[in-house]
């Protein structure tokens, strides 16, 4: 479109341009092109929020919501049983021991279920962790509603401490028909250096063992 527009300008210019002493208006063209360049640089950064919104709407990157859902008693779909596996891993350089106490649940959509994860900090320093969830296949992530999860906030543990962290969730009965089995994985990251809060803040959701 821009091409045609400038072309008509140019043909007008070219008509009364017997020598190159009369130069066509380059500044205007350059201005438009520089605008495109700046806009595309901005677009590169705009892709970050766009990506996040897109993934939140479609759930295709397997991230579950990071805020608590409110459980209103809904009809439990007794005709379907969904198997959910729980997997844990720690990021490179993260020394914690991290295990799923409940390895697997088989639940009906709409049914509230509580599972637990065990952590221990064997390192000689205090560490703040952050758990990042990932659901596979990713489409199921939209239908996992957590009413309570340790992953909603940071998880601080002093050196040598251990804890059991609960997670309460239910599966939306709207879960697509073809998904009967999915995996929920948590990865623990060491974020001690990123956050300012002191490690001795009590971990609210932890019950001692």
């Amino acid at each position: 479109m821009a091409v045609e527009e400038t072309n008509s300008d140019n043909q007008k210019d070219a008509g009364d341009m017997p020598t190159n002493t009369q130069r066509p208006n380059h500044a205007k063209t350059v201005g438009k092109l520089v605008f495109v360049v700046v806009a595309m640089f901005g677009f590169g950064f705009a892709l970050v929020p766009l990506y996040e919104v897109f993934c939140e709407l479609t759930g295709i990157n397997g991230k579950t919501s990071d805020t608590a859902a409110v459980y209103e008693p809904i009809e439990i779909d007794k005709t379907r049983t969904i198997t959910v596996d729980f997997i844990t891993r720690t990021n490179t350089g993260m020394p914690w021991e991290f295990k799923a106490v409940t390895k697997r649940v088989e639940i009906n959509p709409g049914e509230l279920s509580e599972v637990a994860f065990y952590v221990r900090n064997p390192a000689s320093r205090d560490i703040i962790a952050q758990a990042i969830p990932s659901v596979s296949p990713g489409q199921a992530a939209l239908y996992v509603n957590k009413t309570e999860c340790f992953c909603f906030r940071h998880q601080p543990l002093k050196s040598g401490e251990e804890a059991v962290m609960p997670m309460v969730f239910y599966i939306d009965p709207q879960l697509p028909e073809d998904i009967n089995y999915f995996t929920l994985q948590y990865t623990l990251y060491d974020i001690t250096e990123r956050v300012d809060e002191p490690v001795d803040v009590a971990m609210n959701s932890i019950q001692g063992r």
């Binding site: 210019d13 002493t21 520089v34 360049v37 892709l47």
Partner: protein, 537 residues
């Protein structure tokens, strides 16, 4: 096509009255540092690209020497990774792209009847920042910890969490390369849109000008996105942001989306000008007009537009919904339609033509055949389930080397042979050129064709060692590689001889069937051409 009725100022000495600021080329090194002449800058770009081609080629020789035999032989794995990374960066940003920009500088003004590029001072800048970009990149190889080793695609977290401190130098050099490309592209667009000779409508422009116009639009659309991506890598690594770090709420897969949103149009940036070159050469030596000129223009534009909606075919194995995989698979396959139109038109141009096989034509025909092989392996890679098998194997390496070496690089060589006599006024050494062509053609296929087989058998790319069953093929691949590398030294000798103006003088038209404004000016092309625009009918 375009015929000239009036070129009074072709020889600038003829009317010296109104433009006494014009003079011949100044002497000495400052001529090259301060020049704003499109021909000088074109020459600088082409020499720079050729030097970078030899430097990047030397790195490829290190890679092939290491892979000559299984086991770790010559270099340590970290250095091997630096070689694959910097080889890719140099060939893409240092050799192929500057070579095309150099050709655009030399040819676009001469083809559209303009006296120079629209923005000559910016032209000087866009070239002269380039050597510094590559000096920075290459110097990082000699620092403690070495240069970039995460592949030319610099995937996060390899380039953020696991990279060395030299990443800052890498980011800085990519920024400079990007600024250079953007300035070059703006210059090309303004020149083509504003400075065409009277009567040179858009649909009368030579195909090389058309393909470069579209390429330049691709450049200004995606190079800023690359700049954004490297900036995010820089802040993630050094300033504590979390664009690509899951612990801070980011997503490493998002890096791949942003990178390939740049990266896929980038591969067309490296092939569309090649299409233009072939579309100039084939008609000349077929002594026919280009078959389907308008369809060539529309096919080029379609390829450029489609290139924005296929990026995720590089990422099939990252885990995507089936619907998205289907979309990207079919969109990718759709690109083969306009590409097929182009190949058909080239063949149809040759059909019943009065063919002769001068050196540029031999390279052009080799391009058509070998680029099509690369295109077909690309179609195989587009098929999602098949890609799961081929992903990150030597099959991919074979594919993109067929489209980039026997595609883009062969087209650049064809272009150099085609226009070199116009630039120097002398015919190049045809015997050396024949040696160069046949040695290159044979060795390049020994080099890249067996990569298909080892790739299908599962040999992974970017690994300094391999399983024993791949040993025989890799030996042949390495031999082909060394032969191809040495063949380019023939080219170097030929170019040096040509630059020293050795050889038989040529006519203004140079090639019997050549048509277009650049063949109507004297050979060698005077320092200033088209001071008064020609009238194109």
């Amino acid at each position: 096509m375009a015929t000239v009725t009036n070129t009074p100022a072709d020889t600038h000495t003829a009317d010296h009255g109104h433009d006494d600021h014009h003079h011949g080329a100044p002497k000495g090194i400052l001529r090259w540092v301060l020049t704003t002449n499109h021909k000088d800058i074109g020459t600088l770009y082409l020499w720079f690209a050729f030097i970078m081609f030899l430097v990047g080629g030397a790195m490829a020789m290190v890679i092939r020497a290491e892979l000559f035999q299984p086991g770790l032989q010559i270099v340590d794995p970290n250095f091997f990774n630096q070689m694959t990374t910097v080889h890719g960066l140099i060939m893409v940003f240092g050799a192929v792209m500057p070579a095309f920009t150099g050709l655009a500088n030399w040819l676009v003004p001469m083809m559209i009847g303009a006296p120079d590029m629209a923005l000559p001072r910016m032209n000087n800048w866009s070239f002269w920042i380039l050597p510094f970009a590559f000096l920075i990149l290459l110097s990082s190889l000699f620092l403690e910890g070495g240069g970039p080793n995460f592949g030319w695609t610099f995937y996060a977290p390899l380039s953020t969490t696991y990279s060395g401190d030299s990443t800052a130098l890498f980011v800085f050099s990519v920024h400079i390369m990007g600024i250079s490309s953007i300035m070059g592209a703006i210059n090309v667009i303004v020149t083509i849109l504003n400075m065409r000779a009277p009567g040179m409508t858009l649909m009368k422009m030579p195909m090389f000008v058309w393909t470069w116009l579209i390429t330049a639009f691709l450049l200004i659309a995606v190079m800023p996105v690359l700049a954004a991506a490297v900036t995010m890598v820089l802040t993630d690594k050094f300033f504590g942001t979390s664009f690509f770090d899951a612990a801070g709420g980011g997503d490493p897969v998002m890096f791949q989306h942003i990178f390939w949103f740049f990266g896929h149009p980038e591969v067309y940036i490296m092939i569309l000008p090649a299409f233009g070159i072939i579309s100039q050469i084939v008609p000349t030596f077929s002594r026919k007009k280009l078959f389907g000129y308008a369809s060539m223009v529309y096919a080029t534009a379609s390829i450029a537009l489609l290139s924005f909606i296929v990026w995720a075919h590089h990422m099939f194995t990252t885990g995507m919904p089936v619907g998205a995989e289907m979309f990207f698979m079919f969109a990718t396959m759709l690109i083969s339609v306009p590409t097929g139109v182009k190949v058909f038109n080239w063949v149809a141009t040759m059909w019943r033509g009065s063919l002769t096989f001068e050196i540029p034509m031999m390279f052009a025909i080799a391009f058509i055949v070998l680029f099509t092989i690369g295109g077909l392996s690309g179609l195989m890679l587009a098929i999602t389930p098949v890609d799961f098998q081929y992903h990150d194997t030597y099959f991919v390496v074979a594919h993109f080397h067929y489209v980039l070496v026997t595609g883009a690089v062969f087209s650049i060589m064809a272009a150099v042979y085609y226009w070199l006599p116009k630039w120097t006024g002398k015919m190049f050494d045809v015997t050396l050129a024949k040696w160069h062509f046949w040695c290159s053609l044979i060795s390049v296929n020994v080099l890249f064709f067996p990569m298909h087989f080892v790739g299908l058998a599962g040999m992974p790319r970017r690994i300094p060692d391999y399983a024993l069953q791949f040993a025989d093929f890799n030996k042949w691949i390495s031999i082909g590689g060394f032969a191809f590398g040495l063949s380019q030294l023939i080219f170097l000798v030929l170019i040096v001889k040509a630059c020293r103006k050795q050889g038989e003088p040529v006519t203004d038209q140079v090639w019997e069937g050549a048509e277009g404004l650049e063949w109507e000016i004297p050979s060698p092309a005077p320092y200033h051409t088209f001071d008064t625009p020609p009238v194109v009918k």
